[in-house]
């Protein structure tokens, strides 16, 4: 499979299918399911943003929760305290904060650090962010920020009131679809190819003139900004932002989505996020076991199906093709 020949004809219909599925939800399900649907859409972005850095650049981060939290808090704070600002500006500010945090983390850790060191540092920075969030008064300390209302987007000649009905849900679907498309471009274009090269053989990539440190940093900053954007979109959806969003255990989520769906596939994290959403819905009465569930599931996937659901399907498909083609050749 050539990575230099990309086929939008495969991806775009899949995306359209997912969007169509998402758009149906408010018409067939109750409020609770709609809320979960919005969360799943945001989780899809959360997971793919993680995987962009992980699968393409080989960056394993245990701290992506901090980007999500920074984005959520940024949006939450600005929406509640500075609500004269256009929502788009708020979203960009959140992305910027996430990007900045990623830049600092990357400068600290990526250059000389091996994968292990980097993972530890993301955990450490994440813990620091968590502590700071809980200590800062203007961020609501342990209680977080409440009353993060869904904003009105002013387009000049008309207003879009996202607080009305399911408007915000449709906003989530649209913006997440946009972000997924953006990430797909980054995954498939020459930037994505150069990341893959640098992950495959850093020395060879270097001697092709690729600045591998800089590229990895860029990948991390992109991942962090988009994750922060996901967090910012989440804040008015949940209407409350709490410090748990920055806890290290929350960083397992994008990992779980990615590994469950399959990290080698662009839409792997999407599959994982949807499956996890279904799982959460099915077990919603058993509140107290979520840590065990997430950790156990992630562990089980890594130990038995590290290629994820899509990887398993791909293997089965390849085996099926291999077993049926000799027969075809015989007939010909």
């Amino acid at each position: 499979m050539s990575i230099a020949r990309v086929r939008p004809a495969v991806f775009l219909p899949l995306l359209a299918l997912l969007v169509a599925g998402a758009l149906i939800v408010p018409h067939v399900a109750n409020r609770g399911v709609v809320f979960l649907g919005g969360v799943v859409a945001i989780n899809v972005v959360f997971g793919i943003a993680f995987n962009l850095a992980f699968a393409k650049a080989g960056i394993l981060s245990f701290g992506n929760a901090m980007f999500f939290a920074v984005g959520a808090y940024c949006a939450g704070y600005l929406v509640t305290q500075q609500n004269h600002l256009p929502f788009v500006v708020i979203l960009l500010a959140a992305a910027g904060c996430g990007g900045l945090l990623a830049l600092v983390t990357g400068l600290l850790a990526l250059r000389r650090a091996s994968g292990v060191y980097f993972a530890v540092i993301t955990l450490a920075v994440g813990a620091l962010v968590h502590v700071l969030i809980m200590k800062l008064d203007f961020l609501g300390r342990n209680d977080g920020l409440i009353g993060v209302n869904r904003p009105i987007i002013d387009f000049g000649f008309f207003d879009l009131d996202l607080a009305r009905g399911d408007a915000y849900y449709y906003f989530i679907v649209a913006s997440c679809a946009l972000l997924v498309t953006l990430m797909w471009v980054l995954w498939s274009n020459r930037f994505g190819r150069s990341l893959q090269a640098l992950k495959s053989d850093p020395m060879r990539a270097s001697f092709l003139g690729i600045d591998i440190d800089r590229k990895r940093l860029i990948a991390l900053v992109l991942s962090g900004s988009i994750t922060a954007l996901a967090g910012a979109i989440y804040a008015p959806w949940a209407q409350i932002v709490t410090p748990e969003l920055a806890h290290w255990s929350f960083s397992t989520m994008p990992l779980l989505f990615t590994l469950l769906g399959g990290s080698a596939f662009f839409l792997g994290p999407a599959v994982g996020a949807i499956l996890f959403g279904l799982l959460e819905y099915a077990t919603r009465s058993l509140v107290g076991i979520s840590d065990l569930l997430v950790g156990g599931l992630l562990l089980a996937v890594v130990l038995s199906v590290p290629g994820g659901v899509l990887g398993l399907l791909a293997t089965l498909l390849a085996r099926f093709r291999a077993s049926s083609s000799p027969q075809r050749e015989e007939r010909a």
Binding site: A4, N189, A197, L208
Partner: protein, 256 residues
Amino acid sequence: MSTPLLAARGIVKDYGRIKVLKNVDLDLGAGERHVVIGPNGAGKTTLFKVLSGETRPSAGTIRLEGRDVTQEAGFVRTRSGVGRSFQVARVFLEMTALDNVIVAVEAREATKRPWAGLLRLSAAKSVADEATSLLVALGLGAQQETPADTLSHGDRKRLELAMNLALRPKLLMLDEPTAGMSPTDRQAAVNLIDRVVRDNGLSLLLTEHDMGVVFQLGTRISVLHYGEVVVSGLPAEVRANALVREIYLGRNAGHA
């Protein structure tokens, strides 16, 4: 005398207390094919690493077309026109041969224009065509879609060469290009390198063990012994040099 393409002065390289390179001077002029030879442990690979930018020297200077590049990272030197191969060919194993060269071409283009074509998903037609013609020129036309990890050792070396050529370098640095090859393969490799260097007007720096290769390809030879260049000159001079004979024939007769 015109500025040499590559000029190394007083190169010293220590690894802890071990002094691998003691005081190396080396000049390489444009169009020259400079071969560095020496017994095992003389420091050839280390010298290569220093000259290509893989590591920094402990002391000394390296100039590329007169410009001081001593502290520059490997990728910067590559961007300045130096292509380099590894003893065991390094290619992107999970990608097809064509994709490997496409990545190389895209890397070259990205150096010139970092922001161009980022919205284009597939590789540009001109890029793909260039990659294909490079592979064909190196005899890998039939293996374009083959994943690099299933290519033979020799084919991987040719692929690596194609990738280096995609960078349009001025200087090609080859680290023991015929290592591990059978005599037939070796001769084919020599012919290929010779043709490639001629067709593209490149300068060449290589390290080698096989004397046949050395004298077929080299226009200038430097002999490295215990971290110092003891003899440097035209092939005929070096061949006749008594010290060289002693280094090579005194201990390992016939084998280098």
